[in-house]
Every structure is written in C-alpha cells, then in structure tokens.
Amino acid sequence: MTSETADPLDTAVIAPAADPGFLQRYGASIEYILIPGAALAAALITFGGFVALFGKSPLDLYWYMYYGAFGTWFSWQNTLTRAAPLILTALCTALPAQLGMVIIGGEGALLIGALAATSAALALQSMPPLVVQLAMVVAGMAGGGLSIMLAGGLRHYRGVNETISSLLLVYIALAILNHLVEGAMRDPASLNKPSTREIGAANMIGSIPGTDVHWGLVFGLVAALAAYVLIYHTTFGFAARVAGGNIRAAKIVGLSVGQLILTICFLAGSCAGLAGMVEVAAVQGRTNANLAVGYGFTGILVAFLARQNPLAIIPVAILLGGIGASGGLLQRRLGLPDASVLVLQGIIFVFVLASDALYGRIGFLKGKS
C-alpha cells in the first residue's frame, strides 16, 4: 500500500474492481439500497427465528412467503393488487415528510376518501359511468385531502403535534364511518355486515386488460411518479424541501410556509383518499368496516422503508404487498396466525429505523471526506 494515510484512494485498494470515482459518486446511493436491504434481511432472519420458536421451519416460511408473494402469476396479481393502496397510503406519509412532518393518519384519510367516493357514486346513480367514476376520484381525493390538511393546519396555526392529531383523526374517521354505515347510509339489505348500498357494477373501475389487477395500480404508479416530479423537479418541491430542512431559513427567504404545509398535506391526504376510492370502486363495491384493514398503517412502514422517496415507494410497496399476499398461504400451510404478517412488518420497521444509525459509517462506501 503506497498511500500514506487513510484517504479516499484506499477504497480503490479494498475494491479494485470499482474505480474510486464510482464509489465517490454513487457511495451514498448505494447506501440507500444496501442499508435498508440489510435491515430487511436481518428482519427476515429474526422473524425466521421467531417462528422457529413455535416449531415451524424457517426455510418453509421463506419458501411459502416467496411462493405466496411472487411464485406464480396468480400470487403476483394478488401482490400487485395489494401494492396499489400501499403506494397511495405511503405517499400520505412520504409527502409531508419532505416538510419534516410525521403524518400517520393515512388509514383515516383512506376511510374518509372511501366514504366520500361512495357518497358521490350513490348521489349520481343516473349519470354515465365515466362521470360517476370521475366524481368518485374527485370526492375521494377531496375527502382524504381535507382530513390530512386539517392535521397540517392544526400544526401550523395552533402548534398541535401532527403525529398525534393525525392518529386521533383515524379513530374519529372510523367512528364517522361506523356511524354512517350503521345509520344514515345503511343499506337495509345488509344484515350481518352493515354496509352502504352498492355503487353498481357499471361504475366499478375494473381490471387492467389481461390481468386480475385493478386499475388502482396505475393510479398508484401515476401518483408516485407525479409526487417524485413535484418534489424533485419543480420549484414548489424545492421550496418544500427547503422548508423541511430549515424552517427558519425558509421563512427568511420569504417562502409561505403555511401554504406549503396546507398544500402538501392536502396532496398527501388526497393520495390516501384515492386509495379509499380505489378500494371501493375496484374491490369492495361499497363502504363498510372491511375497508379498515390497515393499508394506512402498512403505508407508514412503506414510506419509512423507502426513505420517503416517492419513486422508491413503488418497489417497497410491491414487496410489502407481497408479504401481505403471502399471509393467507402462511396461515393455511404453516398454521401461523394471520397476525404473523403484522409481527413481520413490526420487526422490519424496528430494524429499518435502527439501521438509520449506519448511514455514513460503512467503511468501504465512504466515498469522500
């Protein structure tokens, strides 16, 4: 070794195949893939150990998880169908995160969006399907958007912590949903499971041709791409990131922080509201308590695992959609409780957060400095 001290050139000695410029340039990007990937692997190993405690074989577990998530075309379709709402609810956490806000109310915005979309469809029964569907999208997005905008507004104008208020709004949204579904909006024919009336088969948004995956996936992909462009390639997104980095600096340069917060929160909530609309118009056909299956909470995990990057949300949502899709198989073949998916998600979340400590500390990735 000829270089005198530990300078960046050392990396070339350790990894001779890569030229030092490559690591210098992409070291940080590699970290963003390597560290969450390692956290995910550690979580899977821990979960394997956990099920081994209950006498199940971890290798069977991994095989069934893979098979149930990505093993067949059928499981791929199941995975993608679950990924669609996850992309949208993850955006509900990832967009406010650009402003440094932690919003965890995606589940509530999803429920409000579903209620609003269903109401719009029921009010416009006589209209052509395209008009009804458009109205459902608008209503769902507006409903979800307003609920998160409320949390953002309370934060900005009243100093109320947005994490707690958005979570409280989830419980309030659930109460409103149950109240309406069992009262004013109840379909008298729904006896065991109180529900609203159906929106009608003609108004359902259907599947992507050649698949059983509904159009909600396309909604999700478009929303994620749009969010990415908005955050990284527009002045508005730049302003949001400035405000997220240093709110005082943002105020000094004359950014209207309040407007930024309200707009971003509305957009975030409208994504989750759209997820609710999709679940109604593509899966359930009506609103009832079945909608509260936790897509909003899994979305928080997706956003954190994707490091709040709208593009990274897409593969992560597919991955977690896959874990969700394999839950049924784990239950049938291995006899694991349905909550095992929740346990795995919790373990992943814990490892991903703990892995935050590793950034900038992995020797061979230290490109510069």
């Binding site: 009243r158 928080i300 909550a339 998600q345 919790g346």
Partner: protein, 308 residues
C-alpha cells in the same frame, strides 16, 4: 317515574362509574409517559405496550390462576418494550417518534399473534372492592365497585408529583429532560437515565393494559384497545407533564369514554359510535385550545422533540 327507577340519573351515575373504571388505563399510561417525557424522550409506542400488557396479563393469569402475577407480567413486558424503545433510540440519528410508531405496530401485531389462543379461555380476573355498600341504588353500587389498580394509580399520581420535586431521581430525570448537556456535565449518562425512565414508563403502561384484560372490559380480544394508549400520550401534553393534572385529565377522559355506553343503557342508541369517539374528539379539541404555535408549552421538557 316508576318506583325503584332512577331514570335519567342513570347517565351521570354511569359516567361517574365509567370515569373511575375506564380512566385506569389512561391514568397508568399517562403517568408512565409522564416519567418518560420528563426525561426528554417521547414514546409513542405505549399503545403497543398497552396491548402487549393486556395480552401477557391475561395469558399469565390464565396459566397461573393468579391475576396479580398477570399484572406483574404485564409490567415486566412493558418494561421490556420500554428498554427496546430506549435501546434503539440511543443509537445515533434515530428518531424517537418513528421508533414509537414502529413499536406501536410491532406491539399490537405481536400481541395478536401470541394472544390468538387466549381469545377462548377465561382467565382469573382482578377483584374489586365494594365501596357502595351503604347505598340501596344498584347503579350507584355498580359505579362504586372499584378496582385496587385504580386506587394504586390515584396514589401514584401525588407520589410521582412529590418524587419529581424532591427526590434525587426526580431531579436527575428532570435534568436529562431539560438539558442533556447539564446532566452530562454533572457526570451522569443521559442515555442511562432515559433508558430507566422509558422502562419505568413501559412498566406502568403494561399495568394499564393488564387492567383492560383483567378487569374492564375483562377479556382478551383484538379490539381491546383502540387508541387508549395514544390518547393517553396526548393527554400528558395538555396535562403539562404534571402527574396530578394527569390524574384529573384521566378521570375526565374516562367519563367521556363512558358516555356512549351510558347513553346506550338508557336507550339512546343513535350516535353510539360518535359518542364512543368522544375521548378522541375531546383530546383533539383540548390540544387545539391549549397549544399555540408561538411559544412552547409551559412546563414542557426542553429536550422533548415533540414540542420543539
């Protein structure tokens, strides 16, 4: 009004009984969170701790036949979760709010997983003391059947108030919460103080959970806690990190939470779900009224990330 019936008086009586009964988990979680937040860290994961506590208390009580062993197990589980939270938070650049969310999801998931076989069997419950023996009104007697845990919680509030003000431990916790640098300069490990404070907070939250499964509602199922933990965390904020105010706020919350079932018992069934959401709406309203964007809240520990 017919003889023997107390008519609409049922509602305030049921609310009083509810305030005593329903407030206990709020009280324990908020006192626990009070200790944790005073040390300068927020643990949003107490919702998960509460559910884990409820599950482990029920399980241990079922296996051992002793509800008090169950309470102890719940406390220890809670302390373990507190240690996990504190352990992850002591890593550099890890956000305590995010860890709390993670543990909230992990705790509820794990409790549902481990608690699956516990939904069917019946475990030994905690006993209640009958303080209403002097009265002939059955509703009043029902309202005054008080659990020992509630009394412990009520005693704990002034004890903590005193401990924060006058004991060495109280001072250490407050120092870590007000200025980590000062605590460090005095030669104390801030991480260690926060670890202990978070474990103590988890211990109390776990006990709060044991009350849910062993006394009221008194069974284990997956819908046992719906946000009591997180409401209690919010409650600490407007109780201004004061244990005595936590006590009064918990009682008010218990009353609000009992409003729905109380009205249902006299035949007011419309809006049942909305009345059940009363504690959340109340929390939100009180936070809106008491918070302000211009100043940090009086009494807030300076190191606390949530009020900065």
């Amino acid at each position: 009004m017919a003889d023997g019936s107390i008519g609409l008086w049922t509602v305030p009586l049921a609310v009083l009984g509810g305030a005593i009964r329903v407030s206990t988990p709020f009280l324990f979680v908020s006192l626990g969170e009070c200790i944790t937040e005073r040390s300068g860290r927020i643990n949003l994961g107490l919702e998960g701790t509460l559910v884990m506590g409820a599950m482990s208390a029920y399980g241990i009580s079922y296996l051992s036949g002793s509800p008090w062993l169950g309470v102890l197990a719940a406390g220890l589980t809670g302390a373990l979760f507190g240690a996990l939270h504190a352990g992850i938070c002591s890593l550099p650049r890890v956000n305590d709010i995010a860890v709390g969310i993670a543990l909230m999801l992990f705790g509820t998931g794990l409790a549902f997983y481990l608690g699956k076989p516990l939904i069917e069997p019946t475990a030994a419950r905690l006993p209640a003391i009958d303080f209403g023996w002097w009265s002939d009104i059955p509703q009043l007697r029902a309202a005054l059947r008080i659990n020992v845990l509630f009394l412990i919680g009520v005693a704990l509030a002034p004890l903590l108030f005193w401990a924060f003000r006058t004991t060495r431990w109280g001072l250490l916790i407050r120092t870590a919460g007000e200025s980590a640098d000062a605590a460090r300069a005095m030669g104390h490990s801030v991480l260690l103080i926060r670890l202990r404070a978070t474990m103590a907070g988890g211990f109390l939250a776990g006990i709060g959970g044991s009350f849910l499964s062993l006394f009221y509602p008194g069974s284990w199922n997956e819908g046992l806690s719906s946000g009591q933990g997180i409401t209690a965390v919010a409650l600490v904020i407007f109780a201004r990190w004061d244990p005595m105010l936590c006590l009064w706020a918990s009682l008010a919350f218990g009353g609000a939470a009992a409003l729905g079932p109380a009205l249902q018992s006299v035949g007011v069934t419309s809006g049942y779900h909305l009345f059940n959401a009363a504690p959340y709406i109340l929390t939100l309203l009180i936070m809106i009224i008491t918070c302000s964007p211009k100043r940090t809240l009086s009494g807030a520990p300076a190191e606390l990330s949530i009020t900065r």
